[in-house]
């Protein structure tokens, strides 16, 4: 089976699951913290984001290749098809890291509300924007930096593939850190809930 097809298919699957978890955690948080009932705009935005990711991944199969389209520009003059794969990988990996990071952020917020009550809820927008800027800023810098390096150093195509794979390893490391953080937060929440449940039972 085609390697890139597998990569795209599985990448989208992991991203979708992480996005669902993030959406439901945010929904739970907003219901608790702001008594918010209508999440229509948020759901639509998330659907649009996933549709964008899917279209980007299968753009070439649908007859539109963004990197080949930009091949005549200075930004991307080498290996147009490899450029498409790189753009897909970087965007999908960054999206997965972003959803995972937001999952951790919202799990932490829920834990804080559990400990301190609704009064412990704070403004969410600044941190949400900061996480987005941090993840996609780093991904963008890596993409631009590697493209410049490839153009300047005349790296062969195998080297270009290795640079992309290195980015995937960095994102894998981020997932491990984020998953362990999520596990720690859920563990602490579980321990506190268990202790309180025991106290209530005794009373």
């Amino acid at each position: 089976m085609n390697y890139f097809l597998l990569q795209r298919f599985f990448g989208l699957f992991w991203a979708l699951i992480q996005q669902i978890c993030f959406v439901w955690l945010k929904r739970t948080h907003d219901n608790l913290a702001f008594e918010k009932k209508n999440h229509g705009v948020f759901y639509l935005t998330q659907c649009a984001i996933f549709l964008f990711l899917s279209l980007l991944c299968f753009a070439r199969d649908l007859g539109f290749d963004p990197a080949v389209g930009a091949a005549s520009t200075s930004w991307r003059s080498l290996y147009p098809w490899q450029g498409t794969i790189t753009v897909c990988c970087v965007v999908v990996c960054a999206a997965m890291v972003y959803f995972d990071a937001m999952l951790v952020v919202y799990a932490h917020r829920l834990h804080r509300i559990y400990r301190g009550g609704v009064a412990a809820a704070r403004k969410t927008l600044p941190v949400d924007v900061a996480v987005f800027a941090l993840v996609f800023g780093f991904a963008g810098l890596y993409l631009v930096g590697s493209e410049h390096a490839v153009a300047a150093l005349d790296i062969p195509v195998i080297g270009y593939i290795r640079i992309r794979r290195f980015f995937i390893q960095i994102s894998n490391l981020s997932y491990v850190i984020l998953e362990v953080s999520a596990a720690c937060i859920f563990y602490r929440l579980y321990r506190e809930m268990q202790k309180r449940a025991e106290v209530t039972e005794r009373a």
């Binding site: 597998l6 978890c21 739970t28 859920f186």
Partner: protein
């Protein structure tokens, strides 16, 4: 930055790539399953009963998680990773979706009890 990217282009060959993919995949699997395990524990405290089937499925996938070290190429690795982590991920999504209303109700109830006391 160029020397850094040149170093990657020269040294990050298929062998280290596959090795780090496997290590990352196994660690990620343990992390994911641990997160889901404690989320199920939270559900257990909320409902007062254990979601036994989900725990049993998770325990099985926790045991087979190290088979991610077997594949000989990265294409095969993606397939094995999907087989090992696909179902735990679906359980994670299912748990997040179904337990969300219960979490809201549980925390609200607790807040009300605290206000009364």
């Amino acid at each position: 930055m160029s020397p850094f990217f040149l170093w990657i282009a020269m040294n990050f060959t298929e062998a280290p790539h596959l090795f780090y993919l496997k290590v990352g995949g196994i660690l990620c699997g343990f992390g994911d399953i641990a997160a889901l395990w404690f989320l199920l524990k939270v559900a257990e405290v909320m409902h007062g009963k254990k979601p036994k089937k989900r725990f049993a499925i998770l325990a099985f996938f926790l045991l087979i998680n190290p088979i991610q070290a077997i594949p000989g190429n990265s294409g095969m690795f993606f397939v094995v990773q999907f087989l090992v982590l696909g179902i735990p991920y679906l359980i994670l999504a299912y748990t997040a979706v179904t337990e969300a209303p219960a979490i809201v109700a549980y925390i609200k109830k607790r807040a009300t009890t605290r206000t009364r006391t």
